[in-house]
Symmetry: C2
């Protein structure tokens, strides 16, 4: 079970799970995000990487609001790495990874699948609380009490986060070695009406930094 957002981290995570021999079920969410282009990217990535099945669930996180990704609030632009390291930005969607992982857990349980992959990253990231190793460990513990696994002594649920300690440059290099085409992916939070990356949101800036430090060209160049 692999959560696939269409971004480069989750694409690399799916490529790693495939390399390690897993049959992969890809799960994506249409949650009312302003960057709906990532849904097309997640379908491209799941197909290109040979997912056994790809499901996009529609859930309404706009009903709650509370984020620049689900409300009509401006997305911050041009922030430095130091600024990104301070506090939680307005693009944080409350409890999003918990909601996503809960659905992954539900589908995994019906499939009798015990391995859930999530491409979170705690190094070059935007300061979201639900990307930290201590959060992932707590979710895994809860998941094993929540399901049949915890009662009937079946295989334990494992949350795999193979990218959590890597820099964006290391992730890009890894994907490149695995033959992943990053032109399939999408990162920008605030695309232009013509469907071009803005080049200035946290997500665009972290992506550019990753490719630059890896010494590789981004096939999805963000220059207009």
């Amino acid at each position: 079970m692999c959560l696939v957002s269409g971004g480069l981290d989750s694409a690399t995570c799916l490529a790693l799970a495939r390399r390690d021999g897993f049959e992969c079920y890809a799960l994506s969410f249409d949650y009312g995000q302003r960057h709906q282009l990532e849904l097309e990217a997640s379908a491209r990535v799941a197909t290109a990487l040979g997912a056994a099945r790809h499901l996009t669930l529609r859930i309404d996180l706009r009903a709650f609001g509370g984020s620049a990704l689900t409300e009509d609030l401006p997305v911050p632009k041009g922030r430095s790495a130091a600024e990104m390291g301070q506090g939680i930005p307005v693009t944080y969607v409350p409890a999003r990874n918990t909601v996503f992982l809960s659905f992954a857990l539900a589908w995994a349980e019906t499939l009798e699948c015990s391995d859930i992959f999530l491409g979170v990253n705690a190094i070059d990231y935007s300061g979201y609380p639900d990307c930290r190793p201590e959060y992932i460990a707590a979710f895994e513990r809860m998941a094993n009490l929540a399901t049949r696994a915890g009662v009937e002594g079946r295989t334990r649920v494992k949350i795999h986060t193979p990218l959590i300690r890597l820099s964006k440059a290391e992730i890009v290099k890894l994907g490149h070695e695995l033959g992943l085409d990053y032109g399939l992916t999408w990162s920008c939070y605030d695309p232009s009406p013509q469907g071009r990356p803005c080049g200035a949101c946290d997500s665009c800036l972290l992506r550019r930094k990753g490719f630059e430090e890896a010494g590789l060209a981004d096939p999805l160049a963000s220059v207009p």
Copy 2:
């Protein structure tokens, strides 16, 4: 924040939260359950108990299947208390409470609300893993790492389960003392086409046992 299913446990839980002075936000789910009548009940309960707001989110747990409540599988009838105490029944919906609590956590975070009420019960219950105290404690711990609360040192998230150690009879007596009209609620998993309780599923049997042991009449008599 109170999860409201339309059943008697969650109605009693909401009544308790109101008694304790909380302003209540009620959250329900249309998850493709076969007993859609409970959605009408949850709206009645939220209105009668003066919820500040009631939201019913549509999520598609039928996409995963794996339960008699979301697939066209027969609902078990006429099971004894001993049979209910053995193993996990086919009416268990994989990871349902985790999915529900995750949405509650998301909405609570946007409202800056730190108290989440859930009417789970570990005494007269159907053997669901996600109704046990150890599961609730693990969810609460995870929730505090998942959200702003865990990073910015705000008030901790608390998952309140005031009914978890009560018998069904004790719950019914408590609701009766609080003036709750159980005629507003709905319990049956498998209502007739005419909208009558079947009187034989686990949920109907536990409800009947509760009223009998409490020495009270059920306003929603299940006799056809």
